[in-house]
């Protein structure tokens, strides 16, 4: 739920409660005032009538309400000792409304010429049910207007206020550390957003710095390892040539040499990855992809025939891409080498190339590999000790560098790698 909608919901709920309470309070306050005013009127009429009655004795006996809406009767004082003025609500039939409508009455006792009289004055009252209906209608109207105003306010005003936030979020969504992107910050007068902008800026700077540092470290470490590795390998090679070794000694030495070679390959791969990531392969040229693949197939033909495998390559079109030729070779050779080393002996490797994609498949009894994990660094299958576990990861890095998409899937005992040129 968006923050705007969230606050709007809360506002609406709070308003509903507040306005309801307000309506009740308002209702009582209003009726209190109305009663007060009506009672004053009744009191006034009573006094006017009593004053008139003192001059006109005919008025002293008027038991019917009729159109003047009052009665005066003589009463026995014994029954009304201690009687106070009383106001009452009652119903009276109204001709115009053809219904009983509420009226307010005032009953009072007064003395004239030593006689006691009871006077009753009637006036029509506010129709309470109508009033409640009105009040309800206007309260709902007020409530709706308020909610609509809040919504409009949110949509126009707050949306504008929140713009720096959404602008930042949209950028963070697509932000990728390895692409060395920069983020633009919208200047804002709001402290919280300034704080957010500053914090994110600092965080990203720190992260980028440590990412750069890490890349640099891998590259430097690989560089530093080159020379000692070279020295160690060469020393062993010289030893092999100079001495008449026993077979056992030779075997031990060979194993040491093989492990150093493995280390050398690993180191070279790490160096290659950091170079790709540090964008140190700038010179691009138009590379004939068909020729690259054919060259790799030629180079790997003995390797494939040693495993009794046949490589079938069908090119629908001539494809050329603007890229670094060494990286193009590495990209395809890692894929093809992977297919040869993981394919079953005696099966076929099928390669297809067209303007949109290159696909390669091999047969293997191994079931499907994990889709994305297959491209992770140091991901190894079948415990292949000669594999550095970096080949596919390197291919993926190269593909990404040139905006290609490399993905993997498994179907009918076949492992497919598809390289899409976008």
């Amino acid at each position: 739920m968006k923050l705007l909608n969230y606050t709007t919901t809360y506002f609406s709920a709070i308003l509903l409660v507040l306005i309801s309470i307000w309506a009740v309070v308002f209702y009582y306050a209003m009726f209190d005032e109305i009663y007060d005013s009506i009672d004053d009127g009744l009191d006034n009429r009573k006094m006017v009538l009593i004053a008139r009655a003192s001059k006109d004795p005919n008025l002293m006996q008027k038991p019917q309400l009729d159109e003047y809406l009052y009665t005066i009767e003589k009463v026995d004082f014994k029954n009304y000792r201690g009687f106070k003025d009383t106001y009452n609500d009652t119903l009276m039939y109204m001709i115009n409304e053809e219904d009983y409508e509420p009226v307010r009455t005032l009953e009072s006792i007064f003395r004239m010429n030593n006689e006691y009289y009871k006077i009753k004055v009637v006036t029509s009252m506010v129709e309470e049910d109508d009033q409640i209906e009105n009040l309800l209608f206007y309260t709902i109207l007020l409530y709706s207007l308020l909610v609509i105003s809040i919504l409009l306010l949110n949509n126009f005003f707050l949306r504008k206020t929140w713009k720096p936030f959404y602008h930042l979020m949209a950028q963070l969504k697509t932000f990728r550390l390895e692409k060395n992107q920069s983020i633009t910050y919208t200047p804002t007068k709001i402290d919280e957003f300034t704080l957010l902008n500053n914090s994110i800026e600092k965080l990203l700077q720190k992260t980028q710095k440590s990412y750069e540092g890490q890349k640099q470290f891998i590259e430097n470490a690989s560089h530093e390892l080159q020379t000692p590795l070279a020295i160690a390998i060469n020393k062993l090679e010289i030893l092999f040539e100079e001495n008449e070794l026993t077979e056992n000694q030779a075997e031990q030495l060979q194993q040491a040499l093989e492990n150093l070679e493995r280390l050398k390959r690993l180191n070279r791969s790490l160096l290659l990855i950091s170079k790709i990531e540090n964008d140190q392969f700038q010179p691009n040229e138009n590379v004939d992809i068909n020729a690259v693949i054919e060259k790799i197939i030629f180079n790997f033909s003995e390797l494939a025939s040693h495993k009794n495998m046949a490589m079938h390559f069908s090119a629908m079109e001539k494809v050329s891409k603007n890229m670094n030729p060494d990286l193009a070779y590495t990209l395809f050779s890692n894929l093809i080498k992977n297919a040869i080393s993981h394919g079953n002996s005696g099966t076929d490797i099928i390669m297809e190339l067209d303007a949109k994609k290159f696909s390669i498949s091999n047969f293997s009894e191994n079931s499907s590999l994990e889709n994305e994990a297959v491209f992770k660094r140091f991901q190894k299958y079948n415990g292949n000790k000669n594999s550095t576990g970096l080949g596919l990861s390197i291919s993926k890095s190269i593909a990404e560098k040139y905006g290609f998409r490399l993905h993997y899937f498994y179907k009918n005992n076949q492992h497919f790698f598809i390289l899409k040129f976008l």
Binding site: T227, A230, I238, E251, L257, Q280, P283, L303, H306, I340
Partner: protein, 225 residues
């Protein structure tokens, strides 16, 4: 042949010098930019192995000095950086070859020999071992004056082994030289065996007096019968 090795890493220098001395070359060395510049100013070499990353200067600068003086010395750039820029710059400046570290001793021998051949015979070059003659300018092989058809890889294997004759050539070094660096992750280098087998058959049938000997299953050695 007189060779200068410019290399600041003493053990690296020792390995290279030892290997090249074993080939009956006269090897001199320089461990710094300054020393190398002095030597180049005074002596003439058939081949200079030039490390790019020297503590007091760049090997590429030395290469410029050599070329500006119009010296005929063959130059092989040796670089630990394995950087494409170094390779391109080096070759553009007139280096004969580029050898990235780490390299195999067999590779060093083969590269040095190739440069020396090109320098001393002005392109028309032949390599002989026993009754086998390799013409490297037109990639032809003769055994006892009779031409033998070899495919590209068989030719490369034979040339490499001949450049390292009487030396044990490790399978890894051979595979990387003939099949390229990217062959490295192959399950094993057993596939080389079938190439060697074919080559042996051809040498045998043409009555060559040299043979390829397998050594401890580690590598191969080309030697006289």
């Amino acid at each position: 042949m007189k060779i200068l090795i410019v290399e600041d890493e003493p053990q690296m220098l020792e390995n290279m010098a030892q290997t090249l001395e074993a080939e009956a070359h006269i090897v001199e060395s320089a461990v710094s930019f300054k020393e190398a510049r002095q030597r180049i100013g005074v002596y003439q070499y058939d081949c200079i192995l030039l490390d790019i990353g020297l503590p007091d200067g760049s090997g590429l600068e030395l290469l410029k000095i050599i070329k500006n003086k119009g010296l005929e010395d063959g130059v092989i750039i040796v670089s630990a950086k394995d950087s494409l820029d170094d390779k391109l710059n080096g070759l553009n400046l007139g280096a004969d070859d580029y050898l990235p570290k780490p390299f195999h001793m067999a590779e060093l021998r083969a590269r040095v020999k190739a440069v020396l051949r090109r320098r001393n015979f002005e392109g028309h070059t032949e390599l002989q071992f026993g009754n086998v003659v390799i013409n490297t300018s037109n990639r032809m092989i003769f055994i006892g004056k009779k031409e033998v058809e070899l495919n590209r890889k068989e030719y490369d294997v034979l040339l490499y082994l001949t450049s390292n004759k009487d030396r044990l050539v490790n399978k890894t070094a051979l595979a990387e030289h003939v099949w390229g660096d990217n062959i490295d992750q192959a399950d094993s280098f057993d596939f080389i065996y079938s190439q060697i087998k074919n080559l042996r058959k051809k040498l045998e049938s043409h009555k060559a007096d040299i043979e390829i000997k397998a050594v401890y299953g580690i590598g191969y050695k080309l030697q006289n019968k």
